[in-house]
């Protein structure tokens, strides 16, 4: 069924645009144009996080840290191979995408591990970034329960994601 998800979305939007007399050609031009400026602005973040990840792995530090985390994660049904992703997701969205790509090329795109990683990356948000930027105008310092609640709920979502990937 999900094979038809994207075709339905794409055909639907194009037909709806034609019905509303929106210029589809111009929309695609705008999209392609914006994509260039978007990747230009995120390239530094991706490059730096890749350097960091590469060093983290090559030094053997990743091996040690995932060794610590593997038991508790396995207990919750999260494959320990994606421990780094679990840690990075609340901090950096670009970093999460970078790690996801790395996991996909290491374990194969349709493997259980890569599907878990994809589900986690798709279902989560950068908790710390969001809380920093959203309150930038009203100068709120004390977020009380917001961060722990968000982090705990996101983690709960990850556990659910891995359980679902097992059966779906």
């Amino acid at each position: 069924m999900s094979v038809y998800l994207l075709p339905v979305i794409l055909v639907g939007t194009v037909i709806y645009s034609l019905a509303k007399r929106v210029s589809v050609y111009d929309c695609f031009l705008d999209g392609a144009r914006e994509s260039l400026s978007l990747v230009k602005s995120i390239f530094p973040y991706i490059a730096v996080i890749f350097i960091c990840i590469e060093l983290f792995r090559a030094s053997g530090l990743a091996y040690i840290v995932s060794g610590w985390l593997s038991h508790p994660l396995r207990f919750l049904g999260i494959p320990p191979e994606i421990a780094e992703l679990v840690l990075l997701v609340p901090l950096s969205g670009n970093g999460a995408i970078a790690l996801l790509e790395d996991i996909i090329s290491t374990y194969g795109v349709d493997s259980y591990i890569a599907r878990c990683a994809a589900t986690i990356a798709g279902a989560s948000e950068t908790v710390f970034y969001v809380s920093a930027v959203y309150f930038s105008k009203c100068k709120v310092k004390n977020l009380r329960y917001a961060i722990p609640v968000s982090l705990f709920s996101s983690f709960f979502g990850m556990v659910v994601a891995c359980a679902l990937c097992r059966v779906m």
């Binding site: 999900s2 390239f43 991706i46 053997g60 995408i97 970078a98 310092k141 917001a146 979502g157 679902l164």
Partner: protein, 203 residues
């Protein structure tokens, strides 16, 4: 922009510490691999950036069409009654911002999400520097992600040659819904516990 600076500072500390620790360990374990692995990191980044350029060029076009046909405005109008019940006692202006924020977040329109959220927070703010329970509720909903179609993830899977790139759609939707529901319930409980504690203090 104060908090943004703080976050950047903490990212700076985390990045520097992690990099230094890795570098020191490598100095002992594999000194010759240090520079090659940093460079291969950036090579990986360039490959990914090219892939992302293609992904965004396609997906941003779809979002442009959704925007030009007013799909986002329609969704935000449909969300209005729910928002009114969830965030009690706010002004119409706040409801406007909140509905734009949540609608664009659900559609994955990153560009419209953040400014709407910042304005929503500012308009709900009663006392400078103090976060109300409604503000924290909005934050928790956004921080647990409510995107309907994880477009970037699906496109990356498609680019990697997946047999069914969109197969993660349903698990992602269920997982993110569970996370958001858990966040909303916990935020409510925390708010209730706090106001109960305040009452006890007064009485």
């Amino acid at each position: 922009m104060r908090r943004e600076v703080e976050i950047e500072y903490s990212m700076n500390v985390a990045f520097a510490a992690l990099t230094l620790l890795s570098l020191v360990m490598m100095t002992f374990a594999a000194p010759a691999d240090m520079l090659p692995s940093m460079i291969s990191g950036v090579s990986g980044a360039i490959v990914l950036i090219l892939k992302l350029t293609a992904v965004y060029a396609v997906w941003l076009s779809v979002l442009k069409m959704a925007e030009a046909t007013g799909l986002d405005r329609k969704l935000s109008r449909a969300l209005r009654p729910v928002i009114r019940r969830l965030f009690k006692g706010e002004s119409e202006k706040s409801y406007d911002y909140i509905s734009v924020n949540l609608a664009s977040n659900m559609l994955g329109m990153g560009g419209a999400t953040t400014p709407a959220a910042i304005n929503a927070m500012a308009s709900m703010c009663r006392e400078e520097g103090k976060a109300t329970d409604n503000m924290l509720m909005l934050l928790v909903i956004n921080a647990t992600s409510i995107q309907i179609v994880p477009a970037t993830v699906i496109a990356l899977r498609a680019a990697a040659g997946s047999a069914n790139a969109a197969s993660v759609f349903l698990p992602t939707l269920i997982a993110t819904s569970c996370a958001t529901a858990a966040g909303m319930i916990l935020a409510r409980l925390c708010a209730a516990a706090r106001s109960a504690a305040e009452k006890r203090k007064k009485g």
